[in-house]
């Protein structure tokens, strides 16, 4: 801190030849990284490229096997997360840790001194004023006195950012902070990030969303297989250039449009929703043809997830009708829905996507175990073979089908979950943020998987906050606003810009 002002052009953070192995896995094989004062430096790479390990070392979570970290030219050794914070390095993680039950303000000030009154008592009014003001700058207007649990995931993410800013860091590491945010929230957040940069904070920005990098970052460093493959100024690059560095090869078909397969079928719709509502949603009506991929776009808490949950039986359907292949279905649980061939893939696979204590193959067959059994006795060999075949068909990269799901990268976990839905009879697939936390290479593969499923005649409804994703995948996109389907875009009318325009102008 004392020798800032750009005396020496030395980087505020310099990482030299950093290496770290976990058992036989070499997560980092000698990585260099420099962060200059007042720059936003994007850090990208596939899952498993070494980003998380690098960040965890910076945070004091892990200790490196070799190599060094220098802050303002001085060697820094963090033995504990507290050390990093004390040295002015702030972190915002993808899934921020909070103390449930404490208020927004208490979580906001976690580990920091409170404003006091003379008698040493906490000056709650000052605390709330401070909290409210910082949150308002991030576009979040919530009562700081309510418990943190009452906030939505994206609101909590904003509180995490506010908390990191409040610590007045010299260096701020933002790790996938936009993963659960919708476009307007991303806009507000990036605005704030730029403002921090102008106030002299050096920022490491980790994201799978390449286009965000082009919106804020000055330079980008790409990691692959535990090594740095490039550090380049963002100006003059294209997303395709960066993607090429990340994957190490050309990925041409990521944004290839799906063929309008069964959409022109003309027959009975796979799914028909009529007048669906539950208080927050009202009079939702649309259809999905067999083999059609229909997108759901909406801002913030538009009810996308809610709609999917109702259709998937995870939330009650209070009004309206749901017809599957023309037959009304009254399902009261995900079990009922599944029995009719409706599968729901939720946004947060760590929470409700897989059972980590079961091996991968049993996760693939999780809903179908009974189908491999006779008189309640499971034919394990047959079951395992079926799971292995499904996983192989979708190209799940795994040590073995007997490994645990947490041994896989995010993208391969998601592929394994898709393998589940090709192992049994599914007619309608409901996808909520299908590439959440997935690297770009896997993303392309997952898009291909989704197109492949549609080609088999499965109807697909996909909710996504990534507009490029909808553009890449969908035959039609429904805009959800004020709890109802407000507009529909189709065919060539689907582009990121048009969706965004339509969403904003609809406001």
């Amino acid at each position: 801190m004392p020798d800032d002002g750009g005396g020496g052009p030395g980087p505020v953070l310099a990482v030299r030849d950093l290496a770290k192995a976990f058992g036989s896995t070499r997560a980092l094989k000698g990585v260099d990284f420099e962060l200059e004062t007042g720059e936003i430096h994007a850090l990208v790479g596939e899952n498993g490229a070494g980003k998380s390990t690098l960040i965890r070392i910076l945070a004091g979570d892990h200790r490196p096997d070799s190599g060094e970290v220098r802050l303002d030219g001085r060697p820094a050794r963090f033995a504990h997360p507290g050390d990093a914070i004390a040295s002015g390095v702030g972190f915002v993680h993808q899934i921020p840790a909070f103390v449930p039950g404490l208020s927004v303000a208490e979580n906001y000030l976690l580990g920091l001194p409170y404003d006091r009154r003379r008698a040493g008592l906490i000056d709650w009014r000052a605390v709330y004023r401070d909290c409210r003001a910082t949150l308002a700058e991030l576009g979040l207007n919530v009562d700081p006195r309510i418990p943190i649990d009452r906030l939505t995931a994206h609101q909590r993410q904003m509180v995490a950012v506010a908390r990191a800013i409040r610590r007045r860091p010299k260096i701020l590491v933002l790790d996938e902070v936009t993963a659960s945010l919708s476009e307007p929230e991303v806009v507000l957040l990036l605005e704030q990030v730029r403002r921090l940069k102008e106030s002299g904070v050096a920022i490491v920005y980790v994201s799978h969303r390449l286009e965000e990098i082009f919106r804020v970052a000055d330079r980008v460093t790409v990691l692959r297989d535990g090594l740095r493959v490039a550090t380049l100024p963002v100006a003059g690059l294209t997303p395709a250039d960066v993607a090429r560095h990340i994957v190490g090869a050309e990925i041409g078909d990521l944004f290839r449009r799906a063929p309008v397969a069964g959409a022109a079928d003309g027959g009975r719709p796979r799914l028909s929703v009529q007048g669906l509502g539950d208080g927050r949603l009202s009079d939702v009506a649309f259809e999905v043809a067999p083999g059609e991929i229909v997108g759901l776009a909406g801002l913030g808490a538009s009810g996308r997830s809610r709609l999917l949950r109702i259709l998937g039986g995870a939330a009650p359907c209070r009004e309206g009708r749901i017809l599957l292949d023309g037959v009304p279905c009254r399902h009261r649980s995900t079990r009922d829905a599944l029995a009719q061939g409706i599968a729901l893939v939720t946004e947060d696979r760590n929470t409700d996507g897989y059972v980590d204590s079961l091996p991968i193959w049993q996760n693939v067959t999780l809903p179908w175990t009974r189908r491999f059994s006779r008189f309640g006795v499971v034919r394990l060999r047959q079951e395992r073979a079926a799971a292995t075949a499904s996983a192989a068909r979708l190209g799940v990269r795994m040590p073995s089908v007997d490994a645990s799901m947490s041994a896989l990268s995010g993208g391969n976990q998601q592929k394994a979950i898709f393998a589940r839905w090709i192992t049994g009879p599914v007619r309608l697939l409901l996808l909520d943020e299908p590439t959440h936390g997935v690297d770009i290479g896997s993303k392309a593969q997952i898009y291909d998987i989704i197109r492949g499923l549609a080609a088999r005649g499965i109807g697909i409804l996909v909710a996504s906050s990534e507009l490029e994703e909808l553009e890449a995948l969908c035959h039609r996109v429904l805009l959800l606003r004020r709890g109802t389907v407000d507009r529909e875009l189709a065919g060539e009318g689907i582009s990121k810009d048009r969706i965004l325009h339509a969403l904003l102008e609809a406001q």
């Binding site: 892990h62 897989y354 091996p359 999780l366």
Partner: protein, 327 residues
């Protein structure tokens, strides 16, 4: 304590990795036998002692196998000891004081056990009381009932031969409890591995939300585990009483903590933090062998408690401890 440190531990997914660690408790059991045989070469290594250890541990093992089911679905049951005591008391009172034949008394005990399991399950599932709390509650209620029906006194008259026969038949040197255990443990272990229900129990315990999303009726699995656990606890209590031919109210209490110790010891035996029947049975006999051996070599009585506690902590914390020491 969740995903973060798990990944830190085993980035390559060591969860199902084999290695030596899962064999450590088995190895330890063999070393125990070897050690006692060296210290007491004349008295310890005998077929007779082996049979004694097997017989002594059998009832605890039946109790612990039931507990294993509840632990598999991610719950706790602290009422097992009270269920065992109550089953013993109910059967004794019905046979010795009400003059019931044994079979109806067994049916009554079974019905009571199912009811207790259902109550435990409903308290946890419907009223959402944490299992630890709910089952402490039912345990206390049951202990109260036991003291009431027995008049809080030891009963040793009126035990019919037909009743005592259930605990006193034998096959070679093996007594009835071991034979019950052999049949029950085999059936349960096979059921857990090879039936749909077994898989669903493990899935429910592993991730309830994900299991529900996959169409598994998780509440039903939890209920089933509580009912199974109570029925096995009642079986242990009934057989114990029939074998003794007398009843000391609340005799089950001393079995509660050993049952938990055995199940947790079993979860790191031939497995990585996964409850399973074979592990639980081995856990029971590690503690049983140690206790018996210490008694035989004349160690003071308190050493048995020290032994059981140390084994449990080292076994369950061992893998972490090794990581820490390596740093």
């Amino acid at each position: 304590m969740s995903s973060g440190d798990r990944q830190g531990d085993t980035p390559a997914g060591g969860r199902f990795a084999t290695g030596l660690a899962p064999w450590a408790p088995v190895l330890f059991l063999l070393l125990l036998i070897l050690g006692f045989s060296i210290v007491e070469p004349l008295y310890f290594p005998s077929g007779e002692n082996a049979v004694t250890i097997l017989n002594d541990g059998a009832l605890l093992a039946i109790l612990a196998c039931g507990l294993t089911f509840v632990l598999i679905v991610g719950e706790f049951d602290l009422s097992i000891a009270a269920v065992a005591s109550f089953a013993g008391a109910l059967s004794t009172v019905l046979v010795t004081q009400q003059g019931w034949p044994v079979v109806p008394a067994i049916l009554a005990v079974a019905a009571a056990a199912v009811a207790i399991g259902l109550v435990n399950g409903l308290l946890v599932i419907r009223l959402e009381i944490p299992a630890l709390v709910a089952t402490i509650g039912t345990a206390s209620l049951l202990d109260g009932l036991t003291l009431w029906v027995t008049g809080n006194s030891v009963i040793f008259s009126g035990f019919t031969d037909a009743f005592m026969a259930y605990g006193n038949w034998r096959l070679g040197g093996l007594q009835a409890p071991v034979l019950y255990l052999a049949v029950l443990a085999t059936a349960l272990a096979l059921a857990l591995r090879y039936t749909v229900t077994g898989r669903h129990l493990y899935a429910t315990g592993g991730n309830r939300a994900a299991s529900r999303m996959s169409g598994i009726r998780v509440e039903r699995q939890v209920m089933l585990a509580f009912v199974g656990c109570s029925v096995l606890a009642a079986t242990a209590g009934f057989v114990y009483t029939a074998r003794q031919g007398s009843l000391t109210p609340l005799f089950g209490n001393s079995l509660l903590l050993p049952a938990f110790a055995a199940a947790f010891l079993g979860s790191v035996t031939l497995a990585h933090r996964r409850f399973h029947i074979l592990g639980t049975v081995i856990g029971v006999y590690i503690i049983g062998t140690g206790t018996f051996g210490l008694l035989l070599i004349g160690a003071p009585a308190y050493s048995q408690q020290l032994f059981a506690g140390a084994v449990l902590i080292v076994a369950t914390g061992g893998s972490k401890l090794r990581n820490i020491l390596r740093k």
